[in-house]
Symmetry: C2
Subunit: 402 residues, 2 copies
């Protein structure tokens, strides 16, 4: 029997984004090479909501909810009915497939939606296919509920027209008895978007092997020019085989409100509500009202935000490629995942040195799968500061190169 | 192996407070006796935050946090360090025992603290002692994590000077290999407060049998005149054997912000943070700032609020006892748990009929343990409306009496 200490070992958070403050500085003084690099500190571990501020009207929606009082403080566990009805329409339009009124739950952040959806579909001994690399919590969630991770690779460096999903591996995984396939699209950390052909292949295999698909589409609104995006919930799978997860924490900079939504398979959504009742009761009542601003942003606001991110993306890629570091062009989202050449120090030590010597915080690629010597950067930052900080990363990578 | 459907069956929420809107009306038309009873509808399933409004300054604290921006949106998973430091001082003073800086986590509501604390201490096969009656989620949480519930009774009708804990049962339970003891003090649903002698006995047995104690003290600030309250964390147990849970959702009417806190055993708190990282990431960042108003309410505000609740309590007790229904005087909190005499209809049908015919929503006692024909009322309501609604309950109880 697993002890509680063993069970939690897999949930290590010390290298997770935002937790750097809890790391012991460690004995890295003896590793230091060269002088400190000056410049505005940049925390690439998450987006800077001071550089890209929350959606206009979001605070007012919250304020109105406080004035509304009890009705908005105490909603059903799955969220206020009027807000769900409004969202169902908007998300049906966005994803190209109907959303049933009872096939939706509002959650405490997209993380909450992810937690509940894995909890509602995975139990001890279940095999779950997970993409590598992909969002680090996916693996942890499966392990926490006693599931067995079956990795499937994406070769995201091969082409910028698809994610590079290894379909043979996916078929083998599904054929081996996988019950759930969990993936992010756009992919976190690479920004790769799955092509229409890849989504069709996933849907076909999921139908053939009766696999539940959980699609984390957190970044699916932040798509760069010329990118075609395919929603798997509109790809012909039976409705009860797909759960889609989204939220306004990223592109819309509403992370401080902790809002997410899961929609699709209604029997799973029912289980998610039962569980949410003992996890957090509900997404914070007043906060739920901020969803009213979602997909209702001022005209042109989203296009402008996307353009600003595209400009930062392009400048950062120039910096890294100019220094000979390989990096995929993200088709969507605000993550860059540049590869480092072999270093004389460990990846975690390099990440600590970056913070100590260069004022730059990044997430080590090893969080996203077993074998990445890459860094993940959330480039939703002040443009000039991000460019300067990327130059410091390149300089540091040179100093510590093997 | 438990299927996912079986695993979730125990989490039924249809009779849980606030979920009445999702109940099918059911075929109760043929059960109806007499005419509808008119009066202001009252929802006793939770407190009315329109009758007792949120702490002064709470919205302003939230608003300031939004203005603060990124630093408050993205805190450590366990919550903003400055807010934790401030709370640690206040809670040490309130509970009479020091709170270590790293022995505290801010959570998404008190429910979040409860979920994380059970998750961090209970795993498959662990025996967990649970009081009957007690908050309905306690049992569900233990079952969800594969633990085995070992019930321990309180005879809360015997005396109003203690909770009536059956200490022989508690000793037998602990001796049988119980790993965790989870209880609410004041007790939910009865409002019973454990006496100093009961708390000392729990602490002594927990030390003897090395049991982890989780004390849910959500209502420990709302204490009526003449009541002595003993914090178990100050009762001499080793610090690593007690987790105390509180939050400002009830007395302070801040439920719409979803804020809770767990403090004590730091190794368990560390695990709770690791888990929170994959459950909700953190308590909503801006919301955390509302904690600044906690234990810092305007002078006299809390005393006034307690007096108002005591007045409602006393009037409702008069109504129920005047009709010959037994009810314990709650020493703390805002719950009443009056006993019904045997009915001609099931308890759940009576609860539905109350809503349909009398505009009164209550929580059936069967949610709190296997054998209570009581109703739970949260009397944090408009005073006059609550008295009138209680009279309608009495009238309905008479109509449907066997």
């Amino acid at each position: 029997m697993l002890t509680i200490e063993k069970k939690f070992e897999a949930l290590a958070t010390e290298n997770a984004p935002g937790q750097e403050v809890r790391q012991a500085a460690g004995n890295i003084d003896n590793l230091v090479r060269g002088k400190p690099l000056t410049g505005t500190p940049v925390d690439f571990s998450h987006g800077d909501v001071d550089a890209f501020t929350p959606t206009p009207g979001s605070f007012e929606a919250f304020s109105d909810a406080v004035d509304t009082g009890g009705r908005q403080a105490y909603t059903e566990y799955r969220g206020a009915a009027d807000i769900r009805a409004d969202l169902a329409q908007k998300l049906a339009g966005f994803t190209g497939a109907p959303v049933a009124g009872d096939g939706m739950i509002l959650t405490a952040g997209t993380q909450g939606a992810l937690f509940l959806s894995v909890a509602a579909t995975v139990t001890t001994g279940d095999r779950v296919a997970i993409v590598q690399p992909d969002y680090f919590a996916n693996r942890k969630l499966v392990q926490f509920f006693g599931g067995e991770v079956v990795p499937v690779q994406i070769d995201y460096m091969k082409s910028e027209d698809n994610a590079g999903l290894n379909l043979d591996q996916l078929r083998d995984a599904f054929a081996s008895g996988v019950k759930v396939f969990l993936f992010s699209n756009p992919n976190n950390p690479t920004g790769a978007v799955y092509s229409a052909a890849e989504i069709a292949a996933i849907a076909k295999l999921a139908a053939e092997f009766d696999v539940m698909v959980i699609a984390d589409q957190l970044y699916s609104r932040l798509r760069y020019s010329g990118v075609t995006y395919t929603h798997i919930r509109a790809a012909g799978l039976p409705d009860n085989r797909v759960i889609t997860i989204m939220g306004p924490s990223k592109t819309e900079s509403l992370s401080g409100y902790r809002l997410g939504v899961a929609f699709g398979a209604s029997s799973a959504i029912d289980r998610m509500e039962k569980l949410q009742a003992i996890v957090t009761l509900r997404a914070a009542g007043y906060n739920q009202a901020v969803f009213k601003t979602w997909f209702s942003e001022p005209v042109g606001w989203m296009d402008h935000r996307i353009q600003q991110h595209q400009d930062i993306r392009d400048d950062l890629i120039k910096v890294f490629r100019g220094a000979g570091l390989r990096v995929r062009t993200p088709q969507a989202g605000s993550y860059l995942f540049p590869e480092l050449r072999p270093l004389d120090v460990s990846l975690n030590d390099f990440v600590r040195l970056l913070r100590l010597q260069a004022g730059v915080t990044v997430t080590p690629g090893s969080e996203f799968g077993p074998h990445w010597s890459s860094l993940r950067l959330n480039f939703s930052q002040d443009h000039a500061a991000a460019v300067a900080a990327s130059k410091r990363i390149v300089e540091m990578a040179g100093r510590y190169q093997r």
